[in-house]
């Protein structure tokens, strides 16, 4: 890992005595883009606020570019931030909002306005420059907030769900822009999102947060292919990974023998293949409960004989009819094994 762009060492934080971050360790390399994922209320925003210096830590240290900034005031930490609530200045126009950070840093007015316009163009709100936040739609506000963060070149960008109110198309576009910007500036970025695709596509690494603790940090590939726990496994991926007690289903392929108890098997809907119950081959029987069609894909919600639910992704064109019986096959190579008690991953020895 290259020089630390940002590091949290044993950071805890609390709101009025209730601890919401517990001993969080995070290292973000200089120029890395870290995506923070986690359920609502997990403490994602709090992590960003701690980094920005908006919340004091109750324990631990925050380092930016190798410098201990724990005691530094926000303005001295050289970060820029998109707030989940946007935090636009209601009395300033879009242009003034974007240029604010520059103007208070004594960038000459015209230069500031020029850069503001450029940033606004990046996020596609150049035609709104003269409006006030109150006159913008939700997505427009969010874009202004993003432009305001992007107009500067700080050591660390903190983006709290910066694309949540954008439509898919725009989001894909902005995502690409963000990535390009990141690569161009070589900036360290921490990006909170709940959009999996965004996380998987954008991130150099992903940190999964749960109840104020870091559950796993890894590349998107690691997170996807080697989730460290049941929580990560089920949290990433939609519909969530299927989870069965070992024994409920025998995967196909050269599966090692598993103790029947104390283990859980996880496999994604994509790892499930449905075949005609009439056809032969291995795989267990199942009944289709309902089917969701999402464009080209369809998700079949099945029930195994033991009453265990399983979701399978199938091409929309070849989806089973609800109520129909199918045969379920799961490739062993796509199966994850977890300890039933701790939920931790168990790698076949």
């Amino acid at each position: 890992m290259s020089a630390a762009g940002l590091a949290l060492a044993g950071v805890s934080a609390a709101y009025r005595g209730t601890e919401v971050l517990h001993d969080v360790d995070l290292d973000v390399a200089r120029g890395e883009l870290l995506v923070v994922l986690g359920p609502s209320g997990a403490g994602k925003s709090t992590v960003l606020r701690v980094v920005a210096g908006l919340e004091p830590v109750t324990a631990g240290r925050v380092l930016i570019a190798g410098r201990d900034v724990t005691a530094l005031r926000p303005g001295r930490r050289d970060v820029s931030m998109v707030f989940q609530s946007y935090a636009l200045f209601p009395h300033l126009t879009v242009a003034e909002n974007i240029a604010f950070g520059l103007e208070v840093r004594d960038v000459p007015r015209t230069a500031a306005r020029e850069r503001a316009r450029a940033a606004a163009e990046t996020v596609g709100c150049a035609e709104l420059l003269g409006r006030r936040p109150g006159q913008l739609s939700g997505g427009e506000r969010q874009r202004v907030a993003l432009a305001r963060a992007l107009v500067r070149e700080p050591a660390v960008f903190l983006l709290d769900e910066p694309l949540s109110n954008l439509d898919q198309a725009l989001r894909v576009e902005m995502r690409t822009e963000l990535r390009a910007l990141h690569d161009r500036l070589g900036a360290t970025m921490v990006h909170v999102t709940h959009d999996q695709t965004e996380a998987l596509v954008l991130a150099d690494r992903i940190a999964v947060l749960r109840d104020g603790r870091v559950e796993q940090v890894g590349t998107p590939d690691e997170i996807w292919r080697r989730p460290a726990s049941v929580f990560v496994a089920r949290f990433v991926g939609s519909p969530a990974m299927n989870l069965l007690p070992a024994g409920a289903l025998t995967p196909a392929g050269d599966a090692p023998p598993l103790p029947a108890t104390g283990r859980q098997l996880g496999f994604r809907p994509e790892a499930v293949t449905l075949t005609d119950p009439a056809s032969d081959g291995d795989g267990g029987p199942a009944v289709t409960d309902r089917v969701e069609v999402v464009g080209e894909d369809a998700y079949a919600y099945l029930t195994l004989p033991g009453g265990h639910p399983v979701v399978a992704r199938v091409p929309a064109a070849r989806r089973p009819a609800p109520g129909s019986a199918v045969r379920v096959t799961v490739r062993w190579s796509d199966v994850h094994v977890f300890d039933a008690a701790s939920g931790q991953r168990v790698d076949p020895a």
Binding site: Y15, L54, P56, S85
Partner: protein, 283 residues
Amino acid sequence: MRGRGRGPAPLPEGALRVWHTLGAAFVLLVFVPPLVLLVSGSLTQPGLPPAPTPQLVPDPLATVGYEQAVALGGLLRASLNSVLVAVVAVPLSVLVASLAGFAMARLAPRTTGTVVAASLVALMVPATALLVPRFAIFRVLGLTDTLVPLVAPALVGTSPLYVLVYYLAFRALPAELYDACLVEDLSPVRTWWRMALPMVRPVTAGLTALTFVLTWSNFLDPLVYVYDRDLFTLPLALRSLSVLDPTNFPVFLAGAVVATVPALVVFVLAQRRFLHTPDRNGR
């Protein structure tokens, strides 16, 4: 709705606290002495020649001033009347002001503009210009020599300023909150009562305190409208103490203390509202 969380610390907590505490201490140093002097003065023995050097704790300490003030000025009866007036006038005034301020924030800009202009004009009229015509009005209504004329200013919210302050406060609430109330089919009155008024609680607390003080220290109105000594309010009673000769300053300072204490209590209570209700941002 925006804003979250507790107050952040744009400065590291420590430095910030020091600054604020220093500032607060400075404010205390500047604003408290006059009142301390008021109290210490009131505890001086009346009738003695003035002390040539400053005395924070008077020597001898005497409560004679209070006894004389109460006896000479009829302070007890006057306090009772003042309380009576305040108890009726202050809530009424706050009610009128907040209702009007709310209506202005919600009515069409043109109506509101007219009322704002009229209120500003009303602010410009000196109190002395109103005494005589008002007297005539009150006489026609048969209200002179009652406490009603002292309550009457409540109808203008005691000062049109307070109506305007309410107006600005209500106007500053996020539009979506009004929208949400509309969707819930709240009539304006209920929107005012259930949403708007609780949202501006600090304003209400502050204005209540100010209204109380204005009502409490109203001097010109009782001077002109009240004849009966039994209807005298505190400022009038104080006024009669003010003609005592200067060596009796402990007596009128004692009167001043008596007249000030209730206002102080109200202020401290209101201040508690300020301090202990979290503001819009949960601080």
